[in-house]
């Protein structure tokens, strides 16, 4: 009864929430994982037992209060348990990106001084062992999957299962200690430390307190009315703050169930089997799905195509209105219901989105077409705007007030202000404590009153109160003639074409804008197959004249649209090239969350940028690449540069 007595007021840490959940809905599923062909599941009570066993084991291994415990692996219940177990011991979990190369991992492990590393499998163990050549602070490696681990030196290594077993065996010795440790956790103690991917420079360790996480989870969960019966699929990197909020913060606050897929390869099937009611995905995933839908529909019979296009057209008109609760004529409702039977329903079903009650996308601007497609199907897809430093939530869209070009109104508890230069500032209970071992950056970002600079430029629409983001504040610049330059704005417009995967626009302090383009290998490859165009590699396809012509037409379309906006009409693209390689996180060109690192790209491809501005027809270049296994190599290419039709400035036309 102690836990219930502790109720509301005392829910000051994740372990406290866990105790509350066990007593409130102990027999409801807390975790599921597809393994051995079925969904293994754990109730809150069972999960608590597992977590407790890990925590006891960690104590037995000598975990001290305030230790950092790195967690590296794909989304698995055991990994989440390890995080909570670390918290129970008074230690701080530090989840890392599992696909990080050893170098990156070394920096983070060194920086936080992790004494314990809990990893998923042999692959990560190997990386950590490699890291140990330079990083000395690691006392113990604990691995979850025993496969292939038999021959390793186990003097400082344990299987998670064994840790649990010894923990259980030693519970008489440590029960008291453990209970004392987690019960003494306070609201302002550190909950988790997450490293930001950092579009520039070294990753920074963002320290988030229990208050940050729990308040934010509470506010956002109440905002969307999340319930204990909800289901989420945990498939995004555990090191990303969003996953921490969804799969631990909100999950523990509301008590909903976290489902882990069997492997990356079966993600889509697993998604369909679970049918989550609360779903988050970056625009990229929605885009891939839509591309797949369209490709598969291409092969359908004419009748099916007709059915699909007819009803989709209708859905575009009526679907969003229905979702926003606006009035729609009876005939339209009937037609929509028919469409739901024949197209939308089955489509949502095959995509695994039938049961989505609350869906979010964020991280990048989402194309209006793309956004509307999902909403018109009746999926309540919304946008949010957030940051690691804010424990995710800054603004969210309310049900019924959803638009593709804004990111919503402030999440309850968040205050916003716009600085003179257009940069967005916020203040909230979720605002981070500090950057670990980096007081300078902390003061740079967070002022004494607790206002945090987002680094994004934007404005609040006066009539709706919705926040609209234009671009990264530091990326919004001036062109040589003083006109406004907002590369992200143009890049997003380019990326809305399915054929274009990435675009990088240049033009700051220059007379005109130019662009690098990455084609989407799935979409363009499919097109090539249909047109019997043979290609051996990305590079070859990217250089194909017909592909270039298509991209050129896309760019021209974008120019037309950009020209409409008087403030930004100077951002029309005059010349572009299609890159000979895909921008890649392994090569440092993108962050692990797949945001382009503009500076690095500019440095690395300086020769190409020069060629874009010196008017040459072609350019030859050599680029270093990193292969999946970490080996380095280089590729040579000769690229064709293309001029694009640019529309005259409307103001000028008017003036003449």
């Amino acid at each position: 009864m102690t836990t219930t007595a502790a109720s509301e007021g005392a829910l000051v840490s994740i372990p406290h929430l866990l105790a509350r959940n066990v007593s409130a809905f102990g027999d409801k599923p807390a975790y599921r994982e597809k393994e051995f062909g079925i969904w293994q599941s754990w109730t809150w009570r069972e999960a608590e037992a597992e977590i407790r066993a890990i925590a006891l084991g960690l104590l037995e291994l000598g975990v001290e209060k305030g230790d950092f415990i790195a967690i590296i692996g794909r989304n698995r219940p055991a990994m989440y348990w390890s995080m909570v177990a670390a918290q129970m011991c008074g230690a701080v979990p530090v989840p890392l990106y599992q696909d990080a190369v050893a170098e990156e991992m070394a920096y983070v492990l060194e920086h936080c001084g992790a004494r314990f590393v809990i990893v998923g499998d042999q692959e990560q163990v190997d990386k950590v062992i490699e890291v140990q050549e330079t990083v000395t602070g690691i006392d113990q490696i604990i691995y979850h999957d025993r496969r292939g681990m038999r021959k390793y030196d186990h003097t400082h290594m344990n299987a998670l299962g064994d840790v649990q077993a010894t923990g259980k065996a030693a519970h008489e010795r440590f029960d008291k200690e453990l209970d004392a440790r987690w019960q003494s956790l306070g609201y302002d103690d550190t909950c988790v430390m997450l490293y930001t991917s950092g579009t520039t420079g070294r990753p920074k360790g963002v320290v988030l307190s229990n208050r940050n996480i729990i308040e934010t989870s509470k506010n956002s969960a109440e905002f969307d009315n999340l319930l204990p019966g909800d289901e989420v699929l945990a498939y995004l990197p555990m090191a990303w703050v969003g996953d921490f909020i969804f799969s631990i913060g909100q999950a523990y606050w509301t008590g909903f169930c976290v489902n882990c897929p069997e492997s990356a390869g079966t993600m889509m099937t697993d998604l369909r089997e679970i049918g989550p009611s609360y779903y988050f995905a970056p625009p990229r995933i929605f885009e891939t799905q839509l591309t797949n839908v369209m490709i598969r529909m291409e092969d359908a019979s004419r009748f099916k195509k007709w059915l699909f296009h007819t009803f989709m057209a209708h859905a575009k008109e009526v679907g969003p209105k229905l979702l926003d609760g606006q009035s729609v004529s009876g005939m339209d409702k009937l037609k929509y219901a028919l469409g739901n039977l024949f197209v939308y329903g089955p489509l949502k079903n095959t995509l695994g989105l039938s049961k989505v009650r609350v869906g979010y996308t964020a991280g990048e601007a989402i194309g209006p077409e793309l956004f509307d497609f999902y909403r018109s199907l009746g999926i309540n897809l919304k946008q949010l705007y957030g940051q690691t430093e804010a424990s995710v939530f800054i603004t969210q869209q309310k049900d019924g007030e959803v638009r593709s070009d804004t990111v919503g109104t402030p999440t309850p508890g968040v205050e916003l202000k716009i600085a003179d230069n257009g940069e967005v500032y916020y203040r909230s209970p979720g605002v981070f404590v500090e950057y670990f071992k980096n007081a300078d950056s902390t003061t740079d970002t967070k002022d004494a009153e607790g206002w945090v600079a987002t680094g994004d430029a934007g404005f609040i629409e006066p009539e709706t109160g919705q926040l609209r983001i234009i671009d990264r504040a530091k990326d919004v610049g001036k062109m040589a003639d003083g006109r406004l330059f907002a590369p992200k704005y143009v890049e997003n417009k380019l990326k809305f074409f399915p054929n274009i995967l990435e675009a990088v626009v240049f033009g700051a302090d220059r007379a005109m804008c130019t662009a690098f383009i990455n084609i989407d290998l799935t979409a363009v490859g499919n097109w090539a197959e249909r047109n019997n165009i043979a290609y051996a590699s990305y590079q070859e396809l990217a250089g194909h004249p017909q592909v270039l012509a298509t991209i050129q037409s896309h760019v021209e379309e974008v120019n037309e649209s950009v020209a409409q906006d008087e403030m930004l009409s100077g951002c029309q693209i005059h010349r572009f090239l299609v890159l000979h390689k895909e921008l890649d996180a392994d090569d440092g060109e993108m962050t692990r969350t797949r945001k382009v690192r503009r500076r690095i790209v500019e440095e690395k491809f300086a020769d190409l940028i020069n060629a874009l501005y010196d008017g040459s027809e072609t350019v030859s270049t050599v680029t270093e690449v990193t292969y999946e296994d970490g080996r380095k190599g280089s590729i040579k290419a000769t690229l064709e540069l293309r001029d694009v039709k640019v529309l005259a400035d409307q103001q000028q036309i008017a003036a003449e």
Binding site: F36, G37, R147, G148, R150, E262, G265, T266
Partner: protein
Amino acid sequence: MKDMADGYITEDGRKIGGVMMEMKNITLRFGGVVAIKDISFDIREGEIRAIIGPNGAGKSSMLNVISGFYHPQEGEVWFHGKKRPSMKPYQVAQQGIARTFQNIALFEGMSVLDNVMTGRLTHMKTNMFQQAIWWGKAQAEETAQREKVEKIIDFLEIQHIRKTPVGRLPYGLKKRVELARALAAEPKLLLLDEPMAGMNVEEKEDMSRFILDVNDEFSTTIALIEHDMGVVMDLSDRVVVMDYGKKIGDGTPDEVRNNQDVIDAYLGVAHD
């Protein structure tokens, strides 16, 4: 390699036990054709034993003798220190010997899961009447066996094709499913008949890793036939070389590599 009375230690430090199976003076004839001529060799606990030789050397016939499919006219098969009486193949399987086949012999009409489940037939205990009723014993057994089979499926990383009919699978995966079926039997001795035939380099690497992992994880003794010399030399602890039905070499990969008869057989005779 240090020789010991009841075993030896391999270069990578694995302990190899005593003799598990011994073939004594095996001779096998088909009508007038002599497929195997007076061959003797042994297979020790925990070892990876390779049988190599040019096409038509009688390697597959030897495997067929071990698995009880062919009955040699002369010679004896000793298993676990006892002379094996003449047995039907399924009785040999029940003794804990499982195998894969040179030309994939999966049950094409069944799913991957069902194929692997057949591998556990020798462990199934319920009778027909219990199965006809299903509820109770049969269902409990099915679930218990499914759990074991899922471990194998996980081990060989074929989860994504679990319910696919095997007929639809590409060649490399079929080979892996066949290995899974053999492993499901939890064999003491695993016979692999050209496990890497027709595979590309990457698939061969995968398969080699699986074979080593099997030997390591389950301490399964493995006897394999393989054409790819490189693979054989990397994988195996000891190698028997056959040519025209006769044994021309037997020893560690290094010993065999330097054996003049073996070199002659491979170089002198223009087999494939």
